[in-house]
Symmetry: C2
Subunit: 353 residues, 2 copies
DNA sequence: AACGTTGATGTAAGCGCATACATCGTTTTC
DNA sequence: GAAAACGATGTATGCGCTTACATCAACGTT
């Protein structure tokens, strides 16, 4: 047993003694519970302040069963998108007095493992925010079973609260923009036609692609399957996909990259191949990454940080309200930002040599 | 008191009963302590496995006083640099079985507040990693006083372990590269001559600038104070600084931006002003940001993620060894990566019209 | 005036673990 | 072969809180 030195931190007993009340009253007063006389509460607050007392979180957690901690699980901590989300979550946690622990699970295998082994998370967090996973109800149920609330960011829907955008609309906006510039041959980069390549945004690529397809259909056009290329959702993936696309003979199609980071990859690839943007190649992305303005990338913008903030609020409210109430789904706005990587299509004769 | 349902999580008593030993033996066996017979340990492990038992962290923390949690404090969670660092820390925490909690403190005011109110962190984390703050020994002492170990990333030195690079060398490499291309007029962007502008990298800008100055001196050149411009360490800051610089009459000097993000700002600014890179303007940055390769930025590269990993290892080792042993300072390598934003200086007559 | 109410406070029993100390059988030492 | 040392294990206390329940004074109610 660790011996306590004279200068050790004050306990609730010290505060009780100083304020001349019992520990129960101190506990109630400090946590703002009712049935404490105003004068008593003041005395307790003052005693706590003087002693610089702060309840030991470990003891609080053990006794109450609540950790006042939430966890965020992301596929890749170093990615721009995820960093923004985590920043949004952290801001809310800080103001709400919750601790935030971060975890990465690089693939759905890891995710399954996390759910299988949910007991390890037990009593460690009150709730979990999953970012960009294809979370199934069955996963979530496993967490609910051990008393962990779950909110998901980027998922379409399910029996748990989610935060996201209208990804179909994203595809529409991007496609409409390109159509408006006269582009009829459109390539979609990052479509994740190969499910094995998609440890991350799951439904998102499909929905964005669907938005594109339907918009083209409205214009009486069809998406050329040969122009739908998959690839990792980050810069490398975009570059690789674009290279295979741009090395084909003939004029390149306009490129709708399903994320800005992929768009950067396309941009990089074009630069390497000596293809001028936007004169020879139009590129549009999604996100409004901080670097988008640097290279003048046209993009469908979303406020990623606010996704994180909204998810954190949703989760914390749900924890406070004892997990009752309807499942909320919040959907954030998106908007087109026209910059310099998209331009009017060259004449039809050039377009189809 | 929350009533326990029949299906509640197993406790150490359940494991003890199942294995036919006492709780003390279970505790020892599960934590790998000595003085447990092999056969007993096996029996305990098996019982724990069957019951899917995991020690309640809250109880463990309360009883042992160790949280197996470390915290990382960054100025800006959404910045590229910090996201990389956090990713590196998280990776180590995950393998070492530590939880990682993230906190942001946007300025030194916040940092002071954190230290003043260190009691709030008390019993919440075993150790803290500070990223890019001008941490003073006095701050650190406050944390040590309440039993929190501290490691700093990016700081030069002090009475606590640090992880960083040779920032003077960074300045030398960049400057030597520009000199080698024939540039003699060099601008340093992000030098933080105004201390009020520097909530972040503290000594870092000064050292990089000093490396530049001394290298110029070796070549018999002096840095023109008019070409040293300060600004925020991110894209906006670089852009603003660069605009003021590039709008001056005459050919622009070669730009040494003290971070890649600032270099991107300079690049963006040049693009906006119609100044061609690298024909009319050479730019070199520091970091090797993932976007550096996209625009072909020449830069002095550092492996930021490994900074985080090293700091986490340092901290966890220190915690394990009961905070004894010498203070370690780890210094990581940097290297020049030549890409496309730097080019040979135009002839002297053009350089000085 | 006897009695149920209500609000303020205290008492004490856990929460689930770690660990000091006690115990006991076994081995080593002289 | 008795004493001492050691390894394996058990007993029981405490870590610092929360909270069910008890208590009690000050009310309002018939």
């Amino acid at each position: 047993m660790p011996q306590r030195s004279h200068s050790d931190r004050p306990t609730i007993d010290d505060v009780a003694a100083a304020a001349g009340v019992s520990v129960a009253t101190v506990s109630r007063a400090l946590r703002g519970l009712p049935n404490v006389a105003q004068s008593t509460r003041q005395a307790v607050l003052e005693a706590a302040r003087q002693l610089n007392y702060h309840a030991d979180p470990a003891a609080t957690r053990l006794a109450s069963g609540r950790t006042r901690t939430i966890g965020v699980v992301v596929p890749l901590l170093s990615g721009w998108y995820f960093a923004q989300v985590v920043a949004g979550i952290e801001a809310i946690c800080a103001t709400e007095g919750h601790d935030l622990i971060v975890m990465s699970a690089a693939s759905h295998d890891h995710l399954d493992q996390l759910a299988d082994d949910s007991a390890r998370l037990r009593r460690r967090v009150d709730g979990l925010i999953f970012v960009d996973y294809a979370l199934a109800d069955s996963h979530v149920d496993r967490f609910h079973a051990i008393g962990i609330e779950v909110v998901s960011i980027g998922a379409a829907s399910g029996g748990f609260p989610t935060v996201g955008i209208d990804d179909r609309m994203v595809g529409e906006l991007a496609t409409r923009h390109l159509l408006g510039l006269g582009h009829t041959r459109i390539s979609v980069v990052g479509a994740m036609t190969d499910d094995r390549l998609d440890p991350f945004r799951f439904a998102v690529p499909r929905l964005r692609l669907a938005g594109c397809t339907s918009t083209l259909a409205e214009a009486g056009l069809a998406l050329d399957p040969a122009l739908v290329v998959s690839g990792g959702f980050i810069v490398d993936g975009g570059a690789a996909a674009a290279t295979s696309l741009l090395e084909r003979s003939g004029p390149p199609p306009a490129v709708f990259a399903l994320s800005d980071e992929m768009a950067f990859g396309v941009y990089q690839s074009a630069r390497a191949l000596g293809i001028r943007v936007p004169d020879e190649l139009s590129i549009i992305g999604v996100d409004d990454h901080e670097m988008a303005s640097v290279i003048g990338l046209t993009t469908v913008a979303q406020d990623v940080t606010s996704h994180g903030a909204a998810a954190a609020r949703l989760l914390i409210n749900r924890l406070a309200s004892d997990e009752t109430g309807p499942i909320e789904h919040v959907c954030h706005e998106v908007r087109l930002i026209t910059r310099d990587t998209t331009a009017t299509a060259r004449s039809a004769s050039e377009e189809n040599p």
